[in-house]
């Protein structure tokens, strides 16, 4: 099996889905000739031409709106927004149309735009390039929200998203685009939407995260095992909407403790939803309050202060220790 990083895995997923399904269309800023600013769509225009890999004008609302129209007409558009921080102009199209077209027409047509975007911090970028606003999509009925944490999942989840009949916000953690290489099967496969997974079993505490934070979790778990003999179970949420509460709750029922980690601002982040659900579904199992390790409720800082904003292993380790001693 070839070892791929996330960029390559996504590129491969797109290439294979385009190959097997002529209704798959790519569109976005610089996705064609340039292969995307992160090279995620590299080589696709050479294979599939300008009509299926569309370099659009600079207009995010238009990109998503056009994708909705394509979906209505029976295509499977995969739109790219260059950075999640530039997706807000398309928020109206997502909330008012993509998420509702099916409901409005009682299933007659649907607005299943698949919208990929690099998101999250840790890449020392300019203002607006480090946004983690997954919660403002997860709160919208009718949108699915997916975040892969490694190349294998990135391919399988994206294949699932492309084949899914509903609009999907597919958030790609830019920080780990090239940071992880792993074996990725050559043939297409599906990692189903709506299923979390336990990536490390453990008995003492459940660590819950998605995307780039999974690496932080793993490091924290190793340290905890080494430093304190604490065995952390790690759950990769993978799909924020629909949320797989069963996998999460089952783990917490076992461990009795949970720490949720995300880099998005704390207030009203998806961690709050997870925390609330754990209380609702497993209060009597809890030996300590569910802790949240998150970004601050500040504007994500520029490069020099970014590390102070991002959750890191020491913070998680400390939070787990506090939780264990509660």
């Amino acid at each position: 099996m070839a070892k791929l990083n996330m960029v390559e895995a996504i590129d491969q997923a797109l290439q294979q889905e385009m190959q097997s399904d002529p209704s798959v269309i790519i569109l976005g800023e610089d996705v064609g000739r340039d292969g995307g600013v992160f090279r995620v769509t590299d080589g696709l225009i050479q294979r599939y031409g300008e009509d299926r890999v569309i370099d659009t004008p600079l207009a995010e609302s238009g990109i998503v709106g056009m994708a909705i129209g394509m979906a209505i007409a029976g295509y499977r558009p995969v739109a790219e927004i260059q950075f999640a921080g530039f997706a807000y102009p398309a928020y109206d199209q997502l909330v008012s149309h993509a998420s509702r077209m099916r409901n409005r027409s009682r299933g007659g047509v649907h607005g299943a735009a698949r919208v990929r975007m690099p998101y999250g911090g840790g890449i020392r970028a300019l203002e607006h390039h480090s946004e983690s606003m997954e919660a403002v999509y997860a709160h919208v009925p009718g949108l699915k929200v997916v975040v892969p944490a490694d190349p294998y999942d990135a391919k399988g989840l994206l294949v699932a998203a492309v084949r899914d009949p509903d609009p999907v916000i597919f958030l790609e953690p830019a920080r780990i685009y090239r940071a992880i290489k792993m074996e990725v099967p050559e043939e297409p496969y599906v990692v189903p939407l709506g299923k979390a997974r336990v990536v490390r079993p453990g008995r003492d505490v459940t660590l819950i995260a998605w995307g780039a934070q999974l690496r932080v979790m793993r490091e924290a778990a190793e340290r905890l095992a080494a430093e304190a003999g604490t065995e952390a179970e790690i759950v990769d949420v993978r799909t924020l909407s629909p949320f797989d509460f069963e996998t999460v709750v089952e783990s917490v029922k076992k461990t009795g403790r949970a720490v949720v980690v995300h880099e998005a601002p704390r207030s009203c982040g998806f961690g709050a939803e997870i925390s609330a659900q754990i209380m609702e579904r497993a209060l009597l199992y809890l030996k300590a309050p569910v802790a949240r390790i998150t970004g601050a409720d500040t504007i994500p800082p520029l490069a020099k202060l970014e590390d102070y904003y991002q959750p890191d292993a020491p913070r998680v380790v400390q939070a787990v220790k506090d939780t264990m001693e509660f």
């Binding site: 056009m66 129209g69 209505i72 109206d92 149309h97």
Partner: protein, 368 residues
Amino acid sequence: MAPINTLVSYSVQSVKVLDEDGSVDISLMPELSPEQLKALYEHMVLTREFDERMFKMQRQGRLGTFARVKGQEGAHIGAAFALRPEDWLVPAFRETGALLLRGLPMQQLLQYWSGDERGGAFPRSLNTLPIAVPVGTHMIHAVGIGWALRYSGTEAAVLTFFGEGATSEGDFSEAMNMAGVFQAPVVFCCQNNQYAISLPFTKQTASPTVAQKALAYGMTGIRVDGNDVFAVYRVTKEALERARLGLGPTLIEAFTYRVTDHTTSDDARRYRSEEEVEAWKRRDPIERLAKYLRAAGLLDDDGVAAVQAEAENRVAEAVTAFEAIPPISPEETFKHVFADLTPPLAEERDALLRRLATGASPGATKGE
């Protein structure tokens, strides 16, 4: 060296075929058979009758807020009359006549405006999108559909409607620009009824016409008298044909007037004069067409009465059919959020059904 150089020159045309006294400019008159002419007339009368009836039902509390189309029948029916079944219609919310012309059952529209989402289930065969309430946001869907038609080699086009107020929204500009870039087979039909709720056209934009907004996108723009159903039909037909042939999109400004309130929740007397409204009522598109038909020997007093009676009948039947529709069940809310019910939604739905099973019925708060 040519220091001041004229790079490009443009002008904006306006077209009128049918005069207010019912006479037409033969050189511009579109080809329309007597049957088509009568169908046009019948349809405009039906739409007006339906609009009146809906208004009454709204006042009786049987329908919710809706947007009347009275006085604008020439504009949107004239345009939609040029559509073929394989074309698409992407409406806003003030095109009742166009929706009916596409074949949408009247009772379904009543159902929709009564607040029953099942009314939004426009038959897929109509190639007609549901009503779009957020102003200016739907034209880009027409571009996406148009792209798909072109890409698939389908000889068909998309007609999308919107008001002049919608042209101020950024999405209008993005849709126009993308239609230009992708040469999408889309006809953008602006019903410029001169008001966006209370805002008059002159305050909506400093541009003297909507038509010239096309120039920003390398597109053709044209203004027609929107109360002249022949002009609107002619211009739209040509634009749709060009679109179907791959010759690109067109912006049509149908200059008309909203003689009623903005919606049934509005009171237009707050922002405009009775005289202005009365003057425009005298330019009524149906009257104008009737004059022509009478002069052409296609209509007489009996004909007028018959068409009116038929319209009333059909509307009455639709109202009866509407009233026979069984009430919508609360489960409907969960049905089409996604293609398949997700586990969290199933849980929420089941909780609602359990509550209802215990006899609980939703209670509005006291004193409302």
